[in-house]
Symmetry: D3
Subunit: 241 residues, 6 copies
C-alpha cells in the first residue's frame, strides 16, 4: 500500500533537519533546530538554585518551558502572556520536554543547580514538541560543557542522548515525522522519545478518530526507532562541529 505524502517524502523519510548551535549569545546553550519549516529556538539557562523540594539534597534539576510566538502559526494565536495563563497544551508539552531531558541526566552529578530549557517556536509546521526535545538535548549538552569548562562540575552528568520524533497513520499508511498538512488529516499520531541505548522514554499515542490496532502500533514504533537513530546521529555531528 502506498500513499503520496503532501511533501512528496517517502513514508520513512524525515524532513531536512538542521541543528545550529550558538544561535543567540547570552544563554549557556542556544540551539535553533529546524525540522523542515518547523523552527524552534532552544536555550539552556543555568541557575545556581534548585526548587524548594530539592534544597539541601545535593541534587540538581532540569526543567523546561515551551511557548509559541503568536504568529508562528498559520493564523495568529493569542499571546499567552496577554491572556494571563498558559494553556493546557503548552503545560502538557513543557512537562513532556522536562521529563524527557531529566531522563538522561544524573542529577547528583549536576549538583545543586537548575538547568531550564526554554523552547520557543519561531515557526510551526507540525512536530514542534519533538523538534524541541531534539534541539533542547543539544542546548543542554552545551550548557553542561560550559559547566565542565569552568570546573564547576567535574563529571559529565549526561548519561545518554535523547531525541524525539512523531509517527502516525496517514491515509492508512504509517509515516514518519508528520508535518502540519499530514497532522491535520491524520487520525492517529504518536510522539516517541528514545535514548541512544534504544530505550523508550516517552510514548504518547492518540487516536482522536479511528483507534489503532496492535500491528499498526508495531509499525509506528519501528518507524520511530529508525527516525530517532538518524536524529541521534545528527545531534552527534552538531556537537562535534
Amino acid at each position: 500500500m502506498t500513499v503520496v505524502r503532501p511533501s512528496g517524502r517517502a513514508p520513512d523519510q524525515l524532513r531536512p533537519v538542521r541543528i545550529e548551535r550558538g544561535f543567540t549569545r547570552h544563554a549557556e546553550g542556544s540551539v535553533l533546530v529546524s525540522f523542515g519549516d518547523t523552527r524552534v529556538l532552544c536555550t539552556a539557562s543555568i541557575d545556581n538554585k534548585v526548587p524548594a523540594f530539592l534544597r539541601g539534597k545535593g541534587e540538581g534539576w532540569v526543567t523546561a518551558e515551551y511557548g509559541m510566538l503568536p504568529r508562528s502559526t498559520h493564523t495568529r494565536s493569542e499571546r499567552e502572556a496577554a491572556r494571563g495563563k498558559q494553556g493546557g497544551r503548552t503545560l502538557e508539552i513543557q512537562r513532556l520536554i522536562g521529563r524527557a531531558l531529566r531522563a538522561c541526566v544524573d542529577r547528583g552529578a549536576l549538583g545543586e543547580r537548575t538547568i531550564t530549557l526554554d523552547c520557543d517556536v519561531l515557526q510551526a509546521d507540525g512536530g514542534t514538541r519533538t523538534a524541541a526535545i531534539t534541539g533542547a538535548y543539544v542546548a543542554l549538552a552545551d550548557a553542561v560543557r560550559w559547566l565542565l569548562a569552568r570546573g564547576e562540575i567535574s563529571r559529565d552528568p549526561i548519561h545518554g542522548a535523547v531525541a524525539a520524533i512523531s509517527v502516525g497513520v496517514y491515509r492508512g499508511v504509517p509515516v514518519l515525522d508528520l508535518d502540519y498538512a499530514e497532522d491535520s488529516d491524520c487520525d492517529t499520531d504518536m510522539n516517541v522519545v528514545m535514548n541512544d541505548g534504544g530505550g523508550f522514554i516517552e510514548l504518547q499515542g492518540t487516536a482522536e478518530g479511528h483507534a489503532f490496532r496492535r500491528d499498526e502500533l508495531d509499525a509506528l514504533l519501528g518507524l520511530a526507532e529508525r527516525g530517532i537513530g538518524q536524529l541521534l546521529e545528527l545531534q552527534r555531528q552538531a556537537l562535534a562541529g
Copy 2:
C-alpha cells in the same frame, strides 16, 4: 521472575472495581467508580450549547474536567480554586479524559449539545485517571439514555465502550493497575485507553527512571489488554443493572 506486590495481588490482577450508578441525583449521569481505594465521582451534564468553534455545524461536543478534593491525597494538596489556576497535571488529565470519550461518540448523532464529564477524586490511591475514564464512560452512557428516553435524540451516538488501565514495571516485573505504593516506587508506567473493538485510543508511557525496552512494552500492552477486557465487562454489568 516473581515479585510481591504491596497489596499481595498477582501481577495481572486488578484491584476490586465497583461502579455505582446514580450516586448523586441532579446529574444526567452520576457514577461513583472505585478501583480499590481510589474513588472518583464522575458526573455527566448535558447542556444544549456547543463551544463557539462548533456552532451551526450540527455536531455535539464531549468534554471533561478533573479535580481532586484537597484531602483526597495522603497529605493535603492546595485547592486549585484557591490558588487561582489548575495545574499542568490537572489540565493534562482532563484533556486525556475528554479525548478518550470523544473517541467513542458519533458527534453528529449527538446533535448540537455538550456533555461535560466532571471527574472529581474523593479518595486517591493511584490510577485516578484510568478510574475516571472507566467511570465517565458509564456516566456518559447514562446521560445518553436520558436523552434517548426523552426523545431528544433518536439514535444512540455511542459506537463503542471505552475503558482505561495503568500498567508498569514494578521491581522489574510488569504489573497491572498500579496502586499508590507501586506507583511511587516504579520507574516506568503507562496508561492505556482502549475500546471494546480491541483498538488503542491512547497510550501514554513514561520512564522517569530507567527507559523501557521493546519487550517490556509488549508485556505491558498484553497486561493492559487483559485488564481492560475485564473493565469493559464490569461496565456492561453496571449498565445492565
Copy 3:
C-alpha cells in the same frame, strides 16, 4: 397559621440528618454529613505550621475552605478552579465556617499547628453552609482525638460543640432547616450558629424581599435554638459511635 412545606415537614422539623465518620481514609477527620439531600464531605487536615501572623506565638489556627462540585447543583455550575477564582459566596461561606469553628477551640492548647476543614458539597439541596459547620465540627473532633491519641497534645483544645441551622419565613410562617425548594421561594432567611452552652456564635439574617419584624426574628431564633439542640445531640451520638 399553617403552611404546607414542599417536603411535608412540620415547621419545626429538621430533615433527616446523617453523620458518617471515616468516609475517606487519608484525612485525620473525615465526615460525610447529610441534611436530607444535601451532602457535604468535611475533612480535617492537620499541618504542623501556622500562618505567618501567628508564628512563634505558641497558638494554633483553625481555618476552612468550601467548594461545590460542579454538578452538585440542579444545573451545572462552572468549576471555580477553571474560572481561576473563588466567588464571593464561596469566600463568604468559608470565612463563616472558619470563624464558627475557631469559636470552640482553645488555640493555645492546640499548639502551633493548623487544622484545615475542607467542606466539599457533593450534592446540594439548600443549607450547605449549616450542614458544613455541623459536619466539620465532628471532623475537627476526630482530628483532635488523633492528636491526643498520639500524644501530640495533652489537653483537649475543644471547649464546646458547635452546630448550625437555617431558619426562614416561608409563606408567612417561620420554618426550620430550609431545603432548596423553600429557600428559592422565601423572602427571609437566617443562618444561626450556636454552641452547646446555648450561646450564639453567628447570626446572619437576610431579607432580600420583605423585611422581618422583631417578633418574626424572635420566632426564628426560637426555632433555631430547638433545631441546634437536636443537631448537637446527633453530633454526640456520632462521636460516641
Copy 4:
C-alpha cells in the same frame, strides 16, 4: 454596669455623622459620609444595561462595589488591584451593601437599568460597611432624582429608606457604633441594617471570642433600632438640604 468608651461616648451614642451630597461632580449621586473619622465616598452610577440574567425582563438592578484606599487604614494595606484580586472581606461587604439597597427598590419601576454604588473608604476608623450603606442610600436617592428630573422614569422606585449601624459588647456592656479602638477589643459585634418601617433587612452578628446570650442580643438590637432611627433622620435632613 458602666464602661468608659475610648471616645468618651455614652453606650448609646453615635459618633458625629455627616452626609455631604455632591462631593464629586460626574456621578449621578455622590455622597461623602462620615461616621466620626470613618469617611466613605459613595457614588451612584446609572447604566442603561442590566446583567445578562435580567435582560428582557423589564426590571432593573442595583449593585455595589467596595474598596479601601491603601492608606485609609492605620498601616498601609496592599492595593487589591495590584494583588490581582479582591479579598473575601471586600466581596462580603459589597454583597451586603448591594442586598441592603436592593431591599428598598422596586426594580420594576426602575426599568432596565443598573445603578452601581461604589463605596470607597478614604479613611477607616471602624464601621466602614455601615457608613457605606447609610451614605449609599443617599447617593442612590440622588441618582433616582436625576432619573425622575429627566423624565427617564415616571415613578420613584425607592419604597423606603435604609440605614445601618454596628453594635457590640465592649467590656461586658452593649454599645452603639463601634469605632476601631472598640472593634479591636470587642468579642462580639453585629451589623444591623433596617428600613424606615422598622423592619430588619440584614443582621450579621459574630462572636469570635465569647458567644453572646439571648439577652445580650436583645440589648444590642434595641441599641441598633435607636441608632438607625437617628441615621434615618440625618438622611432625611441631607436629602431635604
Copy 5:
C-alpha cells in the same frame, strides 16, 4: 494666532491649583491636590523594609501606585481590583510617578525604608498624572519631616523639589495644563516633569494625530517651564503653611 480655550483660560494659564496637607490622618503624608476639577489624594506611607533587590545595601526606596475611583471619570470605569489586573495606562503612570520622585531623593540618606506614594484620583478632568506628581512631592516632604521629627533619620534626603504639568497643541496653539475638554480634542500632548534646579526629569510627548515640529516642541517646553515654576512656588507655600 489665538484660540479660545473651553475654560476661557489664556494659553499659558494654569487652572486654579490647591494643595491641602493632612487630608487624611493615618498616613505620614496626606495631600489632596486639585488642578481645577482634577482632584487626587496622595498619601505617603513609610515602611521599614526595602524590596529584595536593595536588601542590605543601606539604601531606601521610593515607589508609587496610582488608581482612579471607578466614578472619578465621566462615565464609570470598571474597578481594576474587580477586573483582577491593573491596566497598561495605570502601570505606566505609576511607574512615571515613582521615577519622578526617586529623582529628588538621596536614597542613601533615606536609609533602608520604603516610602510608597499612593495617588488615587477622586475626580478626573485631565492631567491626573501631573497633579499626582505635584501633590505626591508634598506628601513625600511631609513623610520625610515625620522621619526627621522622630529622629529616625538625621539628614533630609530630599535634594530638590519636583513638579509636573501637561502641555499640548490645541487647535494649532500651544497651551498649558490641558483639561479633559482640551485633551480629548488635541493631537499632541506632552507631560513634563522638572525639578527646582530647572532640570528635566521626564518628558513624554505623544502625537497620535499630527506629528509635532521642532518649533512646536520648543514652544511647549517654554510653557511647561513657566507653569512648573508656578507649581514649585505653590508647593513651597503649602509646605510653609
Copy 6:
C-alpha cells in the same frame, strides 16, 4: 569633550542595522531587525475584525504586542506567560509601538481590519523598543502590500514612514543608539520616534539620575534626527529589495 564608548563607536554612530524581510513564512509581514546584537522578530498579522469600540465605523486598527524570550537577556527573566501577567514595562512598550505605528496609517483607508504587530525580542542588547518600532514599520508595509496585491484595499493607507532611536547622555556626552553597556551606565536616556516628514511622534526622556538641561535636550534631539534619517533610508532600501 570626548568619550570612549564601550563599543568604540563615535557619539553619533548607529550600530550595524540589518532588516531581513520574510524571516518567517506564515505572517503577512515578517521582519527580523538587528541593531547590533539586539534582534527583534516583528510580524504583522491581518485580521478582518476590529475592536468593539470601532465596529461599524469603517475604520481599521493597528496594535502591537511585545515580548522578550526568557533568555534573550543576560540572565534569564521569568516567562510572562508563566507568571500570568505582562509587566508594566512590557505594557508600556507595546502601547508605545502601537501608537507610533498608528501615527503613520490612515485608518479609514485600511478599512475594518486590524493589523497586529508582534515584536518578540530574540536577543537583547539595549534599544529593543526602538528596534521594534523600526522593524515593525517594515512588517506593516509588507502586510499592506499583501492587502494591495490581493485587491483587498485599493489605496495605500500608509502616509509616511516611522522609525525610532534612543539617545542619551553617557559620561557627560550625548550619544546615539545606546547599547546595554551604555544604557546601564547612563543617567539620562530618551527614545525618539519620528516620521519621514521630520515630525516627532513620540519623545520619552527619563532622567533617573541627573536631570538634563535644555541644551543637553537640544543636543539629544539633534542626534536623534540624524540617526532616524539613516534608519528611514535603511527601511527604504529593505523595502526596495
